[in-house]
Symmetry: C2
Subunit: 199 residues, 2 copies
């Protein structure tokens, strides 16, 4: 009972942030109250606007409040390349490597034990996107985990009849890791070392 | 340019949180957008309410939206004991030791080089508070830093003519550390080992 109700409610609410426990939430709450109330009010406004305004790009399915995200609406990108990733954070990671083709963002990876099949993660939308485009190569940049590999293999098999190059980022990325945690240099290496993918 | 404007603004706004850098802010923003929008909206509301509603307890000067904070409005506490701390987070830390007297919360510590003298940190209000109360002992629980020690000595000298016991928490707390980072057991030991303070 050391904090008044509004402060306790703020501390509780801050704990929805990933990696923020009770003590960190307390420090955050009190520091904002003592040192940066206008910054905290701007944060409240940014949260509200983003949660209410952000949907999904209709072309690549990444998070975006515009119908087309920055990557899809950029006319200078290479329309012959499509990079498939598991989530919006991975778009950021792949951008850091200098890649300037197009993207498709799955909703995670295949996970039969959790009931997540091809429809749940957006494979039909990926197939439609590839059908509409004129891609020469599809780069599968799902996470280098067991599930990410299985998802890449599933997509490679699905695309086999189409006669386009399907490649997988090289295993410069550490096995068992998550793409968004890999440093830019390693990921750039993995992108450069990508190889055609058999089934 | 991997994120749309509302997402970029949210990432920027999250960086006002202590300890949150660019990459952590990105993860926070995307995770909230993908997994917990209602939690994020509750956070926005809690931020707004706290920043607009929380002021200072008129008695102990801790952060509180009520005129009297939970510690000052609790009739079961020991009115003969006053514990002086540097900030609201320290009230929480001292509460963990089982202390159930009263508090006075300074605005940090004396820092002549930054132009922070007794008035800037609330020493006159502390003197007034002690004048109004019937304290037998004042426990100085400022941080065990050079500035915290100097602040404790200043207050001890000021209170010397009043004929009440002025004590300093024992140096079980590590020198050069900050009170709010000390574990509860160590701080409980330091509270128990407090000694009368000379000038
Ligand atoms: Zn897009
Ligand atoms: Zn109070």
């Amino acid at each position: 009972m050391s904090f008044s109700p509004l402060i306790r409610q703020l501390i509780d609410a801050l704990r929805i942030l990933p990696g923020v426990g009770q003590k960190t939430a307390q420090r955050m709450a009190l520091q904002m109250l003592e040192r940066d109330r206008s910054g905290a009010l701007r944060l409240a406004q940014a949260l509200t606007r983003a949660m209410e305004g952000v949907g999904y790009c209709r072309c690549c399915r990444t998070l975006s409040e515009d119908e087309l995200c920055p990557q899809c609406s950029d006319p200078r990108r290479d329309d012959a390349l499509l990079c498939v990733v598991e989530g919006p954070m991975d778009v950021f990671a792949v951008e850091q490597t200098g890649y300037r083709g197009r993207y498709f963002v799955l909703k995670g990876h295949l996970s039969p034990l959790d009931g997540l099949g091809p429809e749940a993660i957006g494979i039909p939308e990926l197939e439609a996107r590839i059908g509409q485009g004129a891609f020469a190569e599809v780069i599968l940049a799902t996470n280098p985990t067991v599930e990410g590999e299985a998802t890449a293999h599933y997509i490679a098999q699905m695309l086999a009849p189409r006669g386009l190059t399907v490649s997988r980022i090289a295993h410069g990325v550490p096995l068992g890791g998550e793409l968004e945690l890999v440093d830019g240099g390693t990921l750039a290496h993995a992108m450069a070392g990508r190889r055609p993918m058999g089934c």
